[in-house]
């Protein structure tokens, strides 16, 4: 099976609220999956479950050969294979861009300082920020911070990248910068799952669109499905989203 990620009937509640109610989907190697849906439909939660940030109550999640639903899961090796980028960047404010990126390779992979620095420069170059290596997060614009966050994940050479509304905190111009980086990644063959509100981007870049509604996957299909929704819910959603 070439699926890098597969969710089968995943269930998750917060207290009495059932947030994921039998979610199933697959993402194959090199695929770019866009998860869309209304606020509160469980998109972020699904993403966090894939990365074992939340424990699930039912169903199965396989990610790059790791059984994430297994209580004996070794989270550390899972996370070497999976990179995640959040809406709020979550850069470490006390470290420069470069140090932010070097931290995990030196700590986790035991790479030497010099090699890690080279690596950091390289991924910074990929997101177009060579010049900002020595800046602290608060010296960077939102878009630049988000790109550093992406670079930080890339430095661990993950097999799968997760993006959770990485552009919603940004104004249109900064959004453009970040989307460009993501497009490059997609072209480079990276497997990606992204939660997004940018329908245009989803249409253009995603090889698969997953529409979530009330804690389940309501509709899946190629990017073109957005132009021809089958369910009234997706039709309403796409209509309002423009």
């Amino acid at each position: 099976m070439s699926a890098v990620v597969s969710l089968t009937n995943v269930e998750k509640s917060f207290g009495a609220v059932k947030v994921l109610n039998g979610v199933s989907f697959e993402v194959a190697r090199g695929e770019v999956a866009a998860v869309i849906g209304q606020s509160g439909s469980g998109k972020s939660t699904a993403l966090r479950c894939i990365n074992a940030l939340e424990t699930i109550e039912g169903g199965q999640i396989m990610v790059c050969g790791h059984a994430v639903h297994d209580p004996k899961l070794d989270k550390k090796t899972l996370r070497r294979d999976v990179g995640i980028v959040f809406q709020s960047y979550n850069l470490f404010p006390h470290l420069t861009a470069e140090q932010n990126i070097m931290l995990a390779p030196t700590c986790v992979k035991g790479i030497g300082k010099a090699a890690a620095r080279d690596l950091a420069r390289e991924v910074l170059a990929r997101v177009g920020l060579e010049a900002k290596a020595d800046h602290f997060p608060e010296q960077l614009s939102g878009g630049q911070q988000q790109r550093v966050a992406i670079a930080r994940s890339l430095a661990m050479q993950p097999k799968l990248m997760l993006f959770d509304e990485v552009t919603s905190a940004l104004d249109p111009q900064l959004t453009g910068e970040v989307l460009k980086v993501m497009e490059d990644l997609a072209r480079g063959g990276m497997t990606m799952i992204l939660v997004t509100h940018e329908m245009a981007f989803a249409r253009k870049v995603a090889s698969k669109v997953i529409y979530m509604h009330q804690g389940t996957v309501w509709e899946t299909g190629p990017g073109a499905m957005l132009d021809d929704p089958k369910t009234p819910e997706l039709r309403a959603f796409v209509g309002s989203g423009l």
Binding site: L53, T77, R79, F86, N90, F92, H94, L103, V108, S153
Partner: protein, 217 residues
């Protein structure tokens, strides 16, 4: 009829050195123990957390006077008679300051947003690495000002070490008073020495706080 002389003043100054020494012991000891307790306080294991909370509650809920007394003589009852006063006073003060420092530092650690823990976790850092490489450097900036502020409390509270026979600044003041009966002069001088010791610390703590707030804005 004796009056307040330079000799008395020197005597007080020597005693003030002990005040400083005791404070240093209490601060270093309390810092080490308090750090451990702070970590225990945010541990993911329930009973460790409960134990640490209980420790903090007991230490913060008992007057230092009573703590010192119980420690000094408690050690002797357990069988260590030759324990010098400096050790017992140091231990009592250590326990006392660890209770307060643990609570201060816990607050600082918890004020680092949860998303920072998550981000570090997603980079597959171990929990120790998360703490030392990501959380503590951020918490430390917040913690400096209240920690220095608490140092002032320690300096003043060493005055209670007199119950275990320690002649630090306050006790020295009483001794001088016993020989010359000039409480007003003597306690004013004692107060002034404490002020000289504490005021720079207070000022420092406040300037740290201001710097930090500016940084945040």
């Amino acid at each position: 009829m004796p009056t307040f002389t330079l000799i008395h003043f020197q005597f007080l100054c020597w005693a003030a050195l002990w005040t400083v020494g005791l404070s240093a012991i209490a601060f270093v000891g309390g810092g080490i123990v308090g750090f451990g307790v702070a970590l225990a306080r945010i541990s993911s294991t329930r009973w460790v957390r409960i134990l640490a909370t209980a420790y903090i509650q007991v230490v913060q809920g008992t007057p230092l006077l009573i703590l010192l007394f119980l420690f000094y003589f408690g050690i002797a009852i357990v069988g260590f008679k030759e324990v010098p006063a400096i050790f017992a006073a140091g231990l009592g003060l250590t326990i006392y300051s660890s209770g307060f420092l643990a609570e201060i530092w816990r607050g600082c650690i918890e004020s680092v947003p949860k998303t920072q823990w998550e981000a570090a976790e997603c980079l597959s850092l171990s929990s120790w690495q998360r703490l030392t490489r990501v959380i503590l450097p951020q918490a430390m900036r917040i913690a400096t000002a209240p920690t220095v502020g608490f140092l002032v409390q320690i300096v003043k509270n060493t005055s209670l070490a007199s119950v275990v026979g320690f002649v630090e600044l306050s006790q020295a003041g009483k001794l001088v008073n016993n020989s010359i009966f000039e409480p007003f002069t003597i306690f004013m001088v004692v107060a002034a020495i404490y002020f000289v010791l504490c005021y720079p610390l207070s000022t420092w703590s406040r300037s740290l706080e201001r710097k930090l707030n500016v940084g945040r804005r």
